[in-house]
Each structure stands twice: as C-alpha cells, then as structure tokens.
Symmetry: C2
C-alpha cells in the first residue's frame, strides 16, 4: 500500500477523514502509524496529497488531509481480456490498474471455462477490491472501469467496433501476426485471448471489425506477463 486511497464515505468534512477496516488494519500493522505521522493519501478519482494522523485506535483512524497534486495520467488504453482463471483474474486486474489501463472489458471466449463466470471473484466487491489494490500500489487515484461481456459474438459484432472507433485496434495473437507496434501516440484497444489462445473463428471476427493481430514473438506468456510486456512496448 504505497498510497492510502480515500473513498467518498471516509470524509467527515472536506479536510478530515475516518478510516476503518482493511486500510485501518494495514496502516496500523504495516505503517505502524502514530498520532502526528504523515501518510501519503489520495481521493478516489481525485487529487493526491498528505494526511496527518490525528487519532488512532483499534476501531478507527482519523487524519487531517491536504490534497493538492494530480494523479499520474491514465494510459489511453482499453484492455479487452478473455476472462482469466479466477486465481489469475485478481493479479491481472490489479496489475492492469497499476499500469494505468483506463478501461477493462472481461470477455467470454471459446476457451474460457464456463465455471469462471460463476466464480465469486467476479462479484462487484472483489472487482473493486482488486482495482483498489492496483491503485494503492501505483499511487494512482483514477479507478478504471470494468464491464463483463458473456457473449463473444454479439459483443464483438455489435459493440466492440463502435466502442473502439478512433483507436488503434490490436489483438495479441502469437500465430501469423505482425510484430506489435511500439511507442504509439494514438489511443489503443488491445484484445488479449485466453490460455490456449483465441480459436480461428474468434480471430477472424475480430479482424472483421478492424483488429490487427500482433505478436510478441514465439514465447507463450501468462496473461499478466503478456499485458505488462505489451504496455511496455506500446506506450
């Protein structure tokens, strides 16, 4: 937790906050915060700044906060990700958020196991928590949006084309693809497949709505490694 992210409900008034729960536990056990200590804070979707601890006990911690600095810019990147295994989902959501991805779509695909869609980790609480962890890691306040798309064909055919209008459309695909471009200056919509990759029908449908297959070479990377490598290359 490199940043204590302040939620709207934490504010008692515009310059004073009251923390409970996960963040209180962390600040007490890891930061070992005492009255008078200064901590790095940021308001969700707002400014970064500092908080001075005014009171701390087992149940809550209050801080006087000064918010003054804008957060780092988001990447002009929408990530469309075949829904990963639940264990991987947490890591990739937090990592994509930390990297500054602006929007994340979790998409069905032929090789996504049906059971992944009913896993509790897809609940709104967990999707929020993983993004909070990513923001806290990166010292960012700008929450990326997430949406779930359980039907590949109608989403790609009817929505993705419109949503990605004006962006560079790329699908990471190891086979028969050109190299991934570098240091782009336009917004990007990047589609990343499941373990085992997209099936040919899916790649063809993505190509029909304008997505160019791009490759990082012959190595097959785990999704979280691939996303970070692609971001490093693209931006």
């Amino acid at each position: 937790m490199n940043l204590i992210l302040l939620l709207p409900q934490d504010f008692i008034n515009p310059t004073e906050v009251n923390l409970t729960g996960r963040r209180l536990q962390h600040v007490r056990s890891v930061h070992r915060a005492q009255v008078g200590d200064t901590l790095r804070v940021g308001a969700l979707n707002g400014l970064l700044g500092q908080g001075v601890v005014t009171q701390v006990n087992d149940e809550h911690l209050t801080m006087a906060v000064t918010l003054s600095t804008p957060p780092p810019a988001k990447l002009a990147l929408t990530l469309v990700l075949a829904l990963p295994r639940p264990k991987v989902l947490n890591r990739v959501l937090a990592a994509a958020t930390a990297l500054g991805v602006a929007h994340i779509t979790l998409l069905n695909s032929f090789r996504v196991e049906k059971g992944y869609w009913t896993n509790p980790r897809l609940g709104a609480d967990n999707l929020l928590l993983q993004r909070l962890l990513g923001l806290e890691q990166a010292q960012d306040t700008g929450m990326p949006s997430v949406d779930l798309q359980r039907r590949f064909k109608p989403f790609v055919e009817d929505e993705l084309g419109t949503r990605s209008a004006g962006t560079l459309r790329l699908v990471a695909h190891p086979e028969g693809a050109g190299p991934c471009p570098r240091a782009v200056t336009t917004p990007v919509t990047l589609v990343v497949g499941p373990e085992g990759g997209f099936i040919p029908f899916e790649v063809e449908l993505l190509q029909k709505v304008g997505f160019a297959p791009v490759s990082l070479g012959p190595r097959i990377l785990r999704v979280e490694t691939a996303v970070a490598t692609l971001v490093g290359r693209l931006f």
Copy 2:
C-alpha cells in the same frame, strides 16, 4: 505446461524418454494423454520437437521423441534483482524465465528483509523448479542461470562492473531518472530494486560502476509487473 521439458535423466536412449513425478501427473491429469497421442516436448538446453506416447500408467510414461527445432532465442539481458519476498520470488523467476532473460542475479539490498535469505524457496530445488515452470510456459528449453549475492557493496564494487562490461547498464529507479530507452540493440544489464526502492547510497554505488537510472514514470509497479514492462520496452 505448454511444453514437456525433458531432462537428461529422462532419456532411456536418444529417441526414447521415461517421465515420472510432476510431469507425469500433469500429462495424465491435464493433457489426459493416451498411447498414440503426440505431445510438444523439448530437451533441456536443446531442441524442441514432438513425443508420441508409447506407454502410460500410474508410475511412468514413455514417449518416442523427435527433436528438430531450435528454441526461441534468449534475450540479451542479465537481470539483477533485489531479492523479492519469497511469495513474489517464485512468480518473478518463472516470469523472467518465460520472457527469455538469460541470466538472473538475486542481490541483497538495504530494504531486503534478512529473513528472505533463509527462506526455503531460495533452495536450489525451488530455484530450478520455478525456472522449469517458466520454460514450460514459454515453450523454451534454454535454462537461465541464477546466482545469489548476499553482499551488495562488494558485489557491485568488485564484480558487477566487470560482469556488465560491454552491456548497456541500467538501474530502474523511479526518482530523478531519465526515461527507459526503447528497442535497444545491445546487450543489457538491468538492475531492479526492492519494494520501497534502493537507498541513495546504493543508487550512487551503481552509478559509480556505470549504471544509468531510468524510470517508467510515476507509477510504482510490483517487481514482476515492472520486469515485464521493462522487457517489453527494451526489446
């Protein structure tokens, strides 16, 4: 396991192998391999190819193997990594191996907790297993070397300069650094600090032996995310 990596002791003769243990379990439970099935294999530090299952039971699996294709090239990259938390160590070793890093040094630093050095995950068996997992993921056979350096100052002062001669020397450091170069064509030695970063003394010592601080921007990334992002940008 996108590749079954064959170790020297697996070979009964140059074209026949016998698998037991972890790989047998995986091939039986995940691939559900039957006699006659063809599996993707590769000989450790050797060629890639195919194996046809000739026998399979609870105790072993034999294959007739044909090895013909060279593995993907390694990156011309030596990664010098402040020893991460044990839980992170496994992920970063496997990911760095999958990315194609040629050599990994695990280095002490002021902010590395002493206890990390006595954790069982630093044992030779686990260091080997994590790299095997990375090679199996990436369909590579070339095992990166790993060495452990428990004394920062003598290693940096007396060894790192010589070891990194002729390479582009970079240390990832968020503060006061220039942007990380892109698409380099020379070999690179890349130093990545611990959670919380190197202390100024350490950065200064690295600079003395020729390492230039480079930054990926204001976002603080987890070590495995940072390494993948840097590799994507550099190569």
